[in-house]
Symmetry: C2
Subunit: 381 residues, 2 copies
């Protein structure tokens, strides 16, 4: 079951500071320092941005959605164009999600059975089945650096019996997926389910660990549960995962949650939060977030964030961006997306540095003290 | 009435080739080679693009709309931020249109009287009057390099009496505007009206020329009339304007019309055509235009246009851009806008070179022979 390429470990844990970890994920498309945040490129594009702009925010790894790309433009096409990296012009690493989460969240008229997920293909109208094996094939065709196992992700509020069934399916599907011959140079991560239940989280994680996978997503969270419950479920999941394996908390991207989760030992994150925020005119800063549409910004000659080194803050006034926002101009969505991604990538870079220097806890406290000053911070949390 | 700054002519006619002209417009924000095409930045933004991206297409001059900017964010604000160039971060030259045309085209619930244009301010709800004098003040506050006189632009199909009245008002308003003390370093252009009538075009142009203005827009065209009638009206207007003055055909941006008008002696153009086309997925190329949404482009690994030196064609496949188009992604609108503007700016650059080398007529014939090959060219014309 070992998927190691030659003698090089795919993940190296380099320093620990409390439970916080700094390491290196070695992918076929470059080494990525962890903890790392992946911008979301569901349909092979980080909304509104070019690959160069995303790279300039500090991001070195994206996450695409294999199911969305299977539906359109089709994985065969992406493969014939040289794979997902070449297709979208991205020089960094690419994760692909399996698509189970998207199916369940987006109302694809689906039926979940032990064999897989039956759903209606909105492009062709046909009913198709996404099996764990097919999901691996799709992600192999795309040429992702890291593929995710198909999981059965229950909705927030599902009862214990439902969560148990989801865990059993998730483990069985991961086993079937792992039996498919892995792609060259592709890592394969399982996804820990188990809702908000300690026993189920640990059992699910234990079972997945026994499959010898390359890393572990922590799924089924950030879907409506209170933050303390989420953090408990993160802790339970992590306790069962060996320290040598990378751990990826799926769907988390707010500053406070990122820092809390890094403190627990998470290595990888993804979220549409910074870019979706930007398209809704919420600007993330170290002093908390603010709404760009508010009239108070109309004549402010300074940047979005004082002292920010992003390409937007060096070039545009908040007043001009406010004007573009009032006119609903796409340019403002672009520039706000760049700023917000830069903000999150900077937060991760500073966290990595703090962990290596053994002062993550102080860094986190200082950051949060600043961050909570703004009355707008609630929008962020 | 002379508005010359020191000893330097604001416009230098450098070469002629038939009636086609190559020259230089000297503005307070740089010298601009003519014939030149101005991308449209109505609300202080070329839709979807940064100033750097617009500059990289070859454009050196934009046109903003003074009325739109008066309504939002307000010219006082723009002035307090250092003027329109600094406000939007554009290092090149800026024309401002007076806004009369926009009022008439956009249903502002208006009344045109001899004193000016009464309209409802959609932002405040108040009824305001745009007078020729106020229009000059607004454009001075914005700090445009070239201000346009307020004109009375009749709709296509207006009868002779209506056109006569529009000419009389346009001339009277230009006289009143010219009596306002001009801004330092700002040129002031009148706008020739006269519909599709030879006498009225010439009378209007003669009257404006007698005011000693810095240049002349040719207005009231490209609003629905057949192209041959438009070209006749252009010729009549030009015959009355001295060779030493720059001539600006307002609202023209399709390849064929640009070349036809350059051949008649037009120096300046503006149009939203290339950028609006792009946002509707029409790609302009030397072989004619094509619709990016068509399925035939889904697996084409080549660029939008073979041999094109624009930043998009050097970087992205047509297949990928087609995918973004099917997903209605803003990034595709951006990239198509860059390509289309680059295409038009290249056409102007090649025209300027051909005129200087005395081979414009052959260049135009060769270009049109290629351009008409595509079955999609009709979309362009």
């Amino acid at each position: 079951m070992s998927r190691r390429r030659g003698l090089i470990d795919m993940f190296e844990l380099e320093s620990m500071d409390g439970k916080a970890r700094a390491g290196m994920l070695r992918t076929a498309h470059g080494d990525v320092r962890t903890p790392a945040f992946m911008p979301v490129a569901t349909k092979a594009v980080v909304k509104t941005l070019t690959p160069e702009e995303v790279w300039a925010t500090g991001a070195r790894m994206l996450i695409c959605n294999s199911l969305h790309l299977h539906l359109r433009p089709g994985t065969g096409l992406v493969s014939s164009m040289g794979g997902i990296h070449k297709y979208m012009g991205w020089g960094g690493a690419v994760f692909t999600d399996s698509g189970g989460f998207q199916l369940i969240r987006s109302g694809f008229d689906l039926k979940i059975r032990d064999s897989g997920i039956k759903y209606r293909n909105g492009v062709t109208g046909a009913v198709e089945e996404l099996t764990p094996e097919r999901s691996v094939e799709i992600q192999r065709e795309l040429g992702a650096d890291v593929a995710m196992a198909l999981d059965d992700c229950p909705k927030y509020g599902t009862g214990r019996a439902g969560i148990e069934q989801s865990c059993a399916r998730t483990v069985a599907w991961a086993r079937r997926a792992a039996d498919v011959r892995p792609a060259e140079c592709q890592m394969f991560f399982g996804i820990v389910q188990g809702g908000l239940d300690e026993c189920l989280r640990k059992e699910c994680a234990d079972a997945l660990v026994s499959l010898g996978l390359d890393g572990f997503g922590i799924g089924g969270l950030s879907i409506g549960e209170p933050r303390e419950q989420m953090m408990r479920a993160v802790r339970w999941s992590l306790e069962a995962i060996p320290a040598s394996k990378p751990r990826y908390l799926m769907g988390v991207g707010s500053a406070a949650e990122l820092l809390d989760s890094i403190a627990e030992g998470i290595d990888l994150f993804d979220s549409a939060f910074p870019t979706r925020n930007a398209r809704h005119w919420t600007i993330m800063t170290a002093q908390g977030s603010f709404g760009l549409a508010k009239a108070e910004h109309s004549s402010f000659a300074g940047p979005l964030e004082e002292g920010c080194a992003c390409p937007v803050c060096g070039r545009y006034s908040r007043a001009y961006l406010h004007h573009l926002c009032k006119e609903n101009e796409m340019l403002a969505m672009r520039l706000a997306s760049i700023h917000n991604l830069f903000f999150v990538e900077q937060l991760l870079a500073r966290s990595r540095e703090a962990i290596r220097q053994g002062r993550f806890s102080a860094f986190r406290e200082d950051f949060m003290a600043q961050f909570r000053k703004s009355p707008d911070t609630s929008e962020e949390e």
